[in-house]
């Protein structure tokens, strides 16, 4: 980590209020290009709010935020073109086929027909889905769907991809294969911004931030955090940080 770090997300004094309630209370952090950034926090800590702001879906109440070099207030269109997004809740349309999904999302991000055909072929080859080209998404096992969803989310080669609890409920092998994919994307230079409830996954991240009650309670590499709190895994780090103020705030 000695090379010059290029930032892809810069957040300065981000505040988001809903009425009197501060969902995000003066956040400050950077995400560097090519890193896997783990964004952790308890339910209701304000993670989703931050992600929505970073994706350009909500405007913050105040603060300076740049994503992929663009300003969050007036360049949301450029931001959207340069990011990918995948969540556990929605990823692909279940009632259309594998290829149709790829074509759809390729089209949404403005890829030419030729590019779509080329990337779709490449993608299905890599994921070993060639024989499933015309199968409905709903007929694929969950693990495959998630792999495909991730590939589709980065089909347009975004600079940055947001993953909102991408691995909920899948078996341990599939979960790890999914992380292989994340690593591969990071290796290609795509920055990964990921939330998860699996604390072992926090260990796969280059750096991890932990949110408590709308604030970033700590942010560092997993090994530094473990050292700082004198514990042996990220689960204990999380418990130490997040337990200070238990489930009183919503």
């Amino acid at each position: 980590m000695s090379e010059q770090k290029e930032t892809i997300i810069t957040v300065r004094n981000l505040v988001k209020k809903f009425g009197n309630f501060k969902a995000n209370d003066n956040l400050n952090f950077e995400v560097f290009k090519g890193e896997i950034f783990g964004f952790l926090g308890a339910n209701g800590a304000g993670k989703t709010t931050t992600i929505k702001i970073l994706c350009g879906l909500w405007a913050p109440t105040s603060g300076e935020i740049k994503v992929a070099g663009f300003d969050i207030y007036n360049q949301t269109e450029q931001i959207k073109r340069n990011i990918g997004y995948m969540s556990q809740k929605f990823s692909l349309y279940e009632d259309i086929t594998v290829f149709e999904n790829i074509r759809l999302f390729g089209g949404i991000y403005g890829l030419s027909r030729h590019e779509i055909a080329h990337r779709a072929a490449d993608l299905m080859h890599r994921l070993d889905l060639e024989h499933s080209r015309d199968k409905l998404i709903s007929s694929l096992p969950l693990g495959w769907r998630q792999k495909l969803a991730f590939s589709v989310a980065i089909l347009h080669n975004p600079k940055l991809v947001f993953l909102d609890e991408p691995t909920g409920g899948v078996d341990p092998v599939t979960r790890r294969k999914f992380w292989d994919q994340i690593y591969e994307a990071a290796d290609r230079g795509i920055t990964v911004f990921v939330t998860t409830h699996y604390m072992d996954e926090a260990e796969y991240c280059d750096r991890v931030s932990i949110m408590v009650d709308g604030r970033i309670a700590d942010l560092d590499t997993p090994s530094a955090l473990k050292g700082k709190y004198g514990v042996k895994n990220m689960n204990e780090v999380f418990l130490k940080i997040a337990r200070i103020k238990p489930d009183q705030n919503n």
Partner: protein, 309 residues
Amino acid sequence: MALNINNIHKSFEGLQALNNITFSVKEGELFGLIGPDGAGKTTLFRIITTLLLPDRGEVDLFGLDVLKNYKKIRQLVGYMAGRFSLYHDLTVEENLKFYATVFGTTIEKNYDLIKDVYCQIEPFKTRKAGKLSGGMKQKLALSCALIHKPRLLVLDEPTTGVDAVSRTEFWDMLKRLQKKGITILVSTPYMDEASLCNRVGLIQKGNLLSVNKPENIIAEYQRELLSVSSDNLYKLVNDLRNEKDTHSAFLFGQSVHLTRKDRKESVKQVIKYLRDKGHGSIHINVIKPGIEDCFMDLMHKEDEFLLSG
């Protein structure tokens, strides 16, 4: 025995959801059913709670057959469904009160039992259930499932999608309930929660892979497990997978868990191989497996068994 499950089969539209499931839960036990989404956990729980009929096999609860005595069984079981079945437009207190009347009791009568759980959300009792955080919904749903003093508590994925703090607190509560003599059957996709149960069943694709105490499942693991780390984790896992003697290589936190086909001199060989590949700061040591290692190993065996069969 609180619960006996014998040769349960169940399929939906030709898809096998449960295949020959047999196990039993002792009275007063905290039993965990562990497996990913789609493994068949919910289906099995619905059969136990009389909501579904098995295609084949028997289930008996406290000596009562699930098929014939469903009415009696429904009095004995507290069931917390996967989606926290709460009425979002009713307040916390109204939800609890409703479930109390449905079971012919009152909050006051069984307050002792739920106090431990309910007191944490009682300050918010006039809040609508839909406006609660995940952790609070979970506690309310548990209070509702407990309100009629069930002998068996069946909890379907109570910790899914709930943050690590709430999860830990939830397990602490379960332990305390267990001390009060309630038998608890709980399912979870989080492998790390296995160690919190007295016994666990590992389930995958409708098949029960193993039923045992967590420590015994770990003791039954037969391979030598190596934890490998180097300065480049992604390259490390790829290189290890391409090595000819590798049986499996998976990411576990900041290291890779490696098993090999050949046990001879494995550490030395791996170090040499990784040095040749240009890795620096290589650490290898033999470690004890966790439940997740065991699950992955059992999954692999099951797949091989199915392929050969």
